[in-house]
């Protein structure tokens, strides 16, 4: 058994998700190598070498891998996969973009978004927007898996695994990076935050999302949104929590002006404590909320901010 974990990068640095994927790999057993792919990613490789449980870090640092385009990354993974029984990545947009290419090129299925490891070949994963949990067994020679990071606690740091270069360079004439518009935020990353406060259609407009800022500052919380708020143009789409957005499981999730559609619940119902603030006391969100407060969010939010 040998496992290759594709590292997650955020602006060239190692992202927190990688430590969660290594944790999932540890439950499967076997040697764990981490692969860092990109351009100018030596620092990320050094950071990955510190993660507990990692045997070796392999780093493919080349201009062809800049922005982690699917075509060159898929080709690289196919080259390397022969050394492994499992290839894992987080269920981030990069993992989801690249891993199915590897699976198809190796003629194996892929298991998406696993939340638990039963054994080296049997896993649990949510289906139907998290309304059912499937236990699936793969008899493929190579297991290609994406991991839901909220299902596994991150491994610690204290390791000093060797870092070796991967010299494979693949040609790519099919896809080209044009531009990126990344949302800048000083707040914690939505996927890894301990506290998340999200606004929905009830916020009324984008300007009103500022009402969440003060509370987020006091709680060191990330700010999220429902699809309704994103579709209405209140906030950018990378803030969306739900089946088609980010999946979060913080210690505290505060849903403000969010009715609680199935698709939104899919993204947050594994939070430890859920608070709902909504003026409609029939809103479905109250069925999953540990604490519900019925009332006008425009009165409640400033009061909450002042009392924290």
């Amino acid at each position: 058994m040998s496992i290759l974990v594709l590292a997650d990068l955020h602006e060239g640095q190692l992202a927190g998700a990688t430590a969660h994927v290594v944790a999932a790999a540890k439950e499967m057993g076997g040697d764990i190598d981490v692969l860092v792919v990109g351009e100018g990613v030596q620092a990320a490789a050094e950071a990955a070498a510190k993660l507990d449980g990692v045997s070796k870090v392999r780093v493919a640092d080349n201009a062809v891998y800049a922005h982690q385009l699917a075509e060159p990354m898929g080709a690289l993974l196919v080259e390397l996969a022969g050394d492994y029984t499992h290839v894992l990545a987080s269920a981030s947009t990069t993992g989801k973009n690249v891993l199915p290419r590897l699976a198809a090129l190796k003629d194996v299925s892929q298991l998406s978004d696993i939340i638990a490891v039963e054994s080296a070949d049997t896993f649990k994963r949510p289906i139907y927007a998290g309304n059912a949990i499937a236990t699936v067994k793969s008899d493929d020679a190579l297991k290609v898996i994406t991991v839901r990071t909220t299902g596994f606690d991150a491994v610690g740091e204290g390791n000093n695994a060797p870092v070796e270069a991967v010299d494979t360079v693949v040609e790519n004439s099919q896809s080209r990076f044009v531009k990126e518009e990344l949302a800048t935020s000083d707040r914690p990353e939505l996927g890894g935050a301990k506290v998340v406060i999200s606004g929905g259609r009830g916020m009324g407009n984008g300007e009103n999302f500022k009402l969440l800022d003060g509370i987020a500052d006091k709680l060191d919380a990330a700010i999220g949104a429902s699809r309704a708020a994103v579709d209405a143009g209140f906030v950018p789409n990378d803030m969306q929590v739900g089946q088609t957005g980010k999946i979060v499981a913080p210690d505290l999730y505060i849903a403000v002006g969010i009715s609680g559609a199935i698709q939104h619940l899919a993204g947050m119902k594994d939070s430890k404590v859920i608070v709902a603030i909504n003026k409609d006391d029939e809103a479905p969100i109250f069925q999953v909320a540990d604490y519900g407060l019925v009332g006008d969010l425009f009165e409640i939010l400033p009061e909450l901010e002042s009392k924290l």
């Binding site: 699917a70 898929g74 989801k96 973009n97 199915p100 290419r101 590897l102 699976a103 198809a104 090129l105 194996v108 299925s109 892929q110 298991l111 998406s112 289906i127 139907y128 927007a129 998290g130 309304n131 059912a132 949990i133 499937a134 236990t135 699936v136 067994k137 793969s138 008899d139 099919q174 896809s175 080209r176 990076f177 044009v178 531009k179 990126e180 518009e181 990344l182 996927g191 579709d231 789409n237 990378d238 088609t244 980010k246 505290l252 199935i262 698709q263 430890k272 859920i274 109250f286 069925q287 999953v288 540990d290 604490y291 519900g292 407060l293 019925v294 009061e303 909450l304 009392k307 924290l308």
Partner: protein, 249 residues
Amino acid sequence: MKVLVAVKRVIDYNVKIRVKADHSDVDLTNVKMAMNPFCEIAVEEAVRLKEKGVATEVIAVSVGPKAAQEQLRTALALGADRAIHIETNERVESLAVAKLLAKVVDEEQPSLVILGKQAIDTDNNQTGQMLAALTGLPQGTFASEVAVDGDSVNVTREIDGGLQTIALTLPAIVTTDLRLNEPRYAKLPDIMKAKKKPLDVKTPADYGIEVASKVSLLKVESPPERKGGVKVASVDELVDKLKNEAKVL
């Protein structure tokens, strides 16, 4: 240019699903089915390309039971020109669907293939990427904007940190994200006309594809229920509960 769109018949997204008592699967008997929402967006995008004069023909394809023809008829009513149904009653995993679609791509030689980013039943998010790999074509996944420009296409993708734009040489595979467009509704006259549009029925065997998978479904369970919470009367009580009862502040 020719555009191929893949559509899937799935449970209607508003339906609250039930797990079968024997835990073998989700119970789909007498449940309302519909076109997967992401596939609706794919069809809409293809039809818009046709309306702009970029696409000359739109072909809809679906893999699944006979009833999936309803979703193909919907695609035809929305503006697709013809449909291909690959009929099978087996559980078909993404890889097998991708292999079947690769055969259709080979036969039809479309310049663009548009799929939804994921089906809301299996939540896999794999088929488009697998199709791209099998056909050797570039992929633009999670698209929120698609702009065809001569022999290339610019795809703006929804990524974790924001938006990324890439340029792909045609032919290419694109998968749709929610914000790509707002799908239209089928009008009654178009629904009537769609009944006369061509719909070819094939089987996986016609394409020489084995749909069996090495992944087996052992069990399906309901997720752990959250126990009902309490409603608090005031902000003070809420803050108190969070501090002293839940201990999350």
